[in-house]
């Protein structure tokens, strides 16, 4: 990376800095809420699923699969020629993936809380907060046109990586320990 690729103008730096600060605030707020709110178990049985944990496992799995669609369509968008369907697919798969993560996030925060029990739950808790912060950054910088070209792929890559790590520390763990079931 050359220094010219970095946001050198104050305007570009501010365009990046403010979304990052807001995203950080989102992540920290979620972490605080998860730590301070008394974990409150909610009982809700969803037909077809053995319990709420498995509903979350599958919601997160759908979100992770949509994230792979995100990765592929994002790559296609950076080619000189790409179909007119690519951008709408990227937008809508992203919106859908975000929508699927929301019930999981709410249940994690409301019903379980920030967990430091072991490395897996600690990593999952931290990554969960970081994900929504990173997603906020991504959404806030998307409309900005004066940023260097590398910014969006880097932020998008972080959002993707964190989401896959979240899936790995929860759904994949459940599949590995309990088997693939509903």
């Amino acid at each position: 990376m050359t220094s010219s690729a970095l946001p050198t103008s104050p305007k570009a730096a501010a365009a990046l800095l403010i979304p990052v600060l807001i995203g950080s605030a989102v992540a920290v707020s979620l972490g605080f809420y998860g730590s301070l709110h008394d974990a409150t178990r909610i009982s809700l049985s969803v037909p077809g699923f053995s319990n709420l944990i498995w509903v979350k496992v599958w919601l997160a799995t759908v979100a992770a699969l949509l994230a792979v669609v995100q990765l592929v369509t994002a790559r296609l968008m950076w080619r000189p020629t790409s179909g007119s369907w690519v951008a709408p697919l990227h937008r809508w798969s992203g919106r859908l993936a975000f929508l699927f993560t929301l019930p999981v996030m709410v249940h994690c925060l409301y019903s379980i809380g920030f967990s430091t029990f072991d490395l897996r739950s600690l990593a999952h808790s931290v990554l969960g907060c970081v994900f929504f912060g990173a997603f906020t950054v991504k959404m806030l910088i998307l409309p900005k046109r004066d940023l260097p070209g590398w910014v969006l792929p880097v932020v998008g890559g972080i959002v993707f990586t964190v989401l896959v790590a979240l899936w790995g520390t929860s759904s994949a763990y459940m599949f590995a320990t309990e088997g693939v079931r509903l």
């Binding site: 178990r41 937008r91 992203g94 975000f98 929301l102 379980i112 809380g113 430091t116 959404m139 763990y173």
Partner: protein, 228 residues
């Protein structure tokens, strides 16, 4: 001024999340929690009838009848199993409605004491630890919270030698407390604290309860509802 669409996405996400938080708060109200009878599946009610001792009728019965009987009588039962996700193991021993629970992952442990009455579990432990849940139909389910850690569990009724064992002794000037859970598949997990410092418990002979701690053999007793 027209909002950029990513901002609309974010705001929509905030609205959906707030609605879900609101829905969760409604669900968490005590009146919204299901009665114990409604959480007992019919398939296990008769299968575990003998396992849960006097808590269940000896003849197969409708699940609601079984749960009602369990609620009315003074409960004596033992439930043991892994917590949801498998991070820890839990055992709950109840004798005449007096309950002892033990949660442990081989490194840390939580001892709780309380009651098991009318299908409801209510136990407390050191440092504000709590266990709340329901039982009936040959199983107990609920939630254990200690500090920032929360476990949810659904544990089937078990019979000796499966269940909870405990030993207390003075060994080499240290106050030693051993807790060990034995599951029906033979899995054993426990924690040994020496002057309140926890460590993984040495293996216990499930037949005799014998455990060798620092060269001294202790005999762990089967916990049936009251801590001695």
């Amino acid at each position: 001024m027209k909002l950029p669409t990513p901002l609309i996405t974010l705001l929509a996400g905030v609205v959906v999340a707030l609605a879900l938080f609101g829905g969760s708060a409604l669900l968490a109200r005590p009146s919204a929690r299901p009665a114990p009878a409604s959480v007992t599946p019919s398939a296990t009610a008769s299968a575990y009838a003998t396992a849960s001792g006097s808590a269940a009728p000896s003849t197969p019965a409708a699940p609601s009848a079984s749960a009602d009987a369990a609620a009315a009588a003074k409960v004596t039962a033992v439930w043991a199993g892994r917590t949801d996700g498998g991070a820890a193991t839990i055992a709950i021993s109840v004798k005449n409605g007096v309950a002892v629970a033990y949660v442990c992952d081989g490194k840390r442990e939580i001892w709780l004491q309380g009651t098991a009455e009318a299908g409801q579990l209510s136990l407390t432990g050191a440092k504000g630890a709590t266990l709340t849940g329901t039982f009936g139909g040959g199983k107990a389910s609920g939630r254990v919270t200690s500090g920032s850690t929360t476990y949810t569990f659904t544990a089937p009724a078990v019979t000796k030698p499966s269940g909870l064992y405990r030993a207390t002794a003075q060994v080499r000037n240290a106050k030693v407390v051993l807790g060990t859970i034995v599951l029906p598949d033979g899995y054993q997990v426990g924690v040994l604290t020496r002057d309140d410092v926890p460590a993984t418990a040495p293996p216990m002979d499930p037949e005799t309860g014998a455990v060798t701690v620092d060269g001294v053999t202790l005999t762990a007793t089967y916990v049936d509802g009251e801590l001695s």
